[in-house]
Amino acid sequence: MNDILEGLKAAFFMLVSLDPDLVEITLRSLQVTLSALVISSAIALPFGSWLAIRRFRHRRATIAVLNALMGLPPVVVGLTVYILFSRAGPFGVFGLLFTPTAMIIAQVIIITPLIASIAHQSIRELWAEYHDLLISLNTSSRQRIAALLWDGRRALLTASLAGFGRAIGEVGAIMIVGGNIDHATRVLTTAIALETGKGDFALALGLGFVLITLAIAVNLLIHGLTRTESGSRW
């Protein structure tokens, strides 16, 4: 109980004093997570929609695999990305290991199936509703996907926010590919892991509370900007 109170106190002081280290790792957390989120959403949302409207061989198997990939173990993803980007790996020449870019790549791999799967579920329902109309209006596949993405944007926002939630709290993969290097790849989650390892539970908890506050703030901000749940809007 004492640790929690100390953690809250530490979080409060770090936030009020705008602790430079905290600001740096918070901004890096946001940079890495939001970059991964934008890239993943750009891939996963159209893919989820496409999967909802197209009928092809092995479609059910594709959906099953996609759903299974939602539970992709981050440590395994981290290890795979590490091997691919290590000096001896096929992409070693790019020198991306232990950089925020490698962390973004790992996060993209982790959250893309999650966003695509949730998007697919939402769009499938909307497609059932719109199917006859969009076919009757003689729309192309691209126009159908565009209409579904636009009209389903609030449900898709939820899919993206689920991806954000998973990415911002992720530690296993980015620890492996980022290395938790001070002033280079340290983010909130890896800093928490480090402080916990050092036995500084108050600081670790303080960072944890900052992380939670950040996640809630981003969610509220996005909901506010898109006016979700406001009167007479879908």
Binding site: E129, L133, S136, D151, S232, W234
Partner: protein
Amino acid sequence: MVTSILPLTFRDATVKRRGKTLVGPIDLALAPSGLTIVLGPNGSGKTTLLRLMHGLERLSKGTAEWQISDVEVRRRQAYVFQTPIMMRRSVRDNLAYPLIVHGTPKAAARAQAWNWAERINLADAFERQAPLLSGGEKQKLALARALIRKPEVLFLDEPCANLDGRATREIEEILQEAHASGTRIVMSTHDIGQARRLASDVLFMLKGRLHEHGPAQAFFASPETPEAAAFLNGDIVE
């Protein structure tokens, strides 16, 4: 000169689903002009026939031939569903959508949308979300959205089901205007009064088959089959 997409000719047209025949076999030629009413009891195949004509159902057997190529045919017809499908957008965007997807610039599409909203008395609700409209308003909007591209043929599946007298009258007025301006209309209904008011010819469906087809006046005055006569009398026909 623009060639009409009609007549639409069905030969031995049959629609089956999971081995069960829903419609057919049907032989029919849909003439280039007129207002055809499709009558028949529940489950007689009215909706399937309309969907087949519009291309929403595939033939299991037989042929359906329009006067010209398939691609052009799809562009020049529209469909109004029994339960109006409202896109999760404003009235304005619902009306403008068919124009925008077929290449009309946004500003011009919205101007036309406004004209139609005024015409169907939905100007006050122009910016409102369409799914929040009343049943009658939704059906008027669906009809306007179907007519906004001036289709050559308009199919309507019981557009006035569950609507009150006033909303029904408004819909009928729009339909009569569209018909007067050259749109070929094919519509199913349960309302015999409405069929009498609107029809130039009648298709009477029973058990998935075209039971009777002819000019409206003759059909209502002296139906050829006892089933049609019973249906017009309000008896239960199965």
